[in-house]
Symmetry: C2
Subunit: 230 residues, 2 copies
């Protein structure tokens, strides 16, 4: 590892490449052509390869960067907001902005999340989200049956850009709009509590689960689900 500081222009290029890579991976998937990344960053492909020896190194750097920023923001929300529910909502909006919840999914199969450094930041991320949720639970402003994994997964669903040729700005607006809508469903209901179905997991459950199962079930048979509208 080089410890010598980068030249000013080199540092800027590195940052630009990271930003461009994040967008490209989110929009085009983990196997998007790196030419495109270089193009958006306004550099040559050679420069990209100088900073990141191969595709995987770039992907790793992108994830680490986004994760770190998310953790920082989560802590800020927890510290600065008086109302825990507000802190949680602020956290979710920020996550949309950082696009972390879109990046990780996109790169999930290509980046080794168990690698030491990533593992550590991921752990911090889970912990702070657990704290946010727990605080809101204690305050009684968040439905008791909503778990931290729900929050995490919901931000994933909201983060991913909608297909079609939406402009990016429009996409972002819609994501925040839908988050607003969702947030209303997170509050406890005064009247009858309508039960929600499915597995209630914590962030820890979620991580354990992702790591553990590594076999593919080739069962393609589809069964009709007997569904009553609850």
């Amino acid at each position: 590892m080089e410890i010598r500081p980068l030249r000013a222009d080199a540092r800027q290029n590195r940052t630009r490449l990271l930003d461009a890579a994040r967008d490209v991976f989110v929009e085009l998937g983990s196997r998007a052509p790196l030419d495109e990344v270089a193009r958006r960053a306004g550099t040559g492909i050679g420069t990209l390869y100088r900073h990141f020896p191969d595709r995987q190194a770039l992907q790793r750097a992108v994830v680490l960067d986004a994760l770190q920023r998310t953790v920082d923001e989560a802590r800020a929300a927890l510290d600065q907001e008086r109302d825990p529910f507000r802190a949680l909502v602020r956290y979710m909006h920020t996550v949309l902005d950082i696009r972390i919840a879109a990046v990780i999914p996109a790169l999930f199969n290509d980046v080794d999340l168990e690698e030491e450094q990533l593992r550590r930041v991921r752990y911090e991320g889970s912990a702070v989200l657990d704290d946010l949720v727990a605080a809101a639970h204690r305050a009684g402003t968040l439905r008791k049956d909503v778990t931290s994994a729900d929050i995490g997964l919901l931000t994933v669903r909201l983060s991913r850009p909608l297909p079609g040729t939406f402009l990016r700005e429009q996409n972002d607006e819609l994501a925040h709009r839908h988050l607003d809508l969702l947030v209303e469903g997170l509050r406890p209901r005064s009247g009858r509590p309508v039960a929600i179905s499915g597995p209630a997991m914590s962030m820890r459950d979620l991580q354990r689960l992702s790591v553990t199962d590594r076999e593919a079930a080739p069962s393609t048979a589809r069964k009709a689900r007997g569904r009553s509208n609850k």
Copy 2:
């Protein structure tokens, strides 16, 4: 055009290929290897190409099939459910099951949605969703500021499989769980109405928007494939 009915085994293979293709496109994206589709369908690659002359034909068939089933189910929901809100919720759950809202996004850039037959079914789909939403609005059981485009886009967000090595069944359960959660946010609030941000669009707005954006690039209706742009 062949009108002669297919041999029984051929018909079954065709159906299997369609189902497999839908899953593969959703999971692996529109450019997923067709070998994988054949493998999951339990047929050879040659069989795939006999039924669908090229990738685009397969994609188109997948979308048409899913769309048609969705429209049918939407009509059934509208007819059979007494409570309009229940009808809407049932519709959304069904959409998750059919995975239409995951298929269309995945194939958005590869299938020409303006092609006559698709256009017609899509139009029907929008119309019936508009009806569902309008009915719920009239009944006062759906927030007035929630539009049909919101419903459509939200099902898209919920439909797409979460990354990681979730088993498919688990993925489905989570999608329905999160839909349950979301639904609570769709109901009108008795107390203060918390405003939601962002553009409020109808399905029509949505379609118009997607189409106009497309004009920028030359629409490849049925041309040679080899394109090199950038």
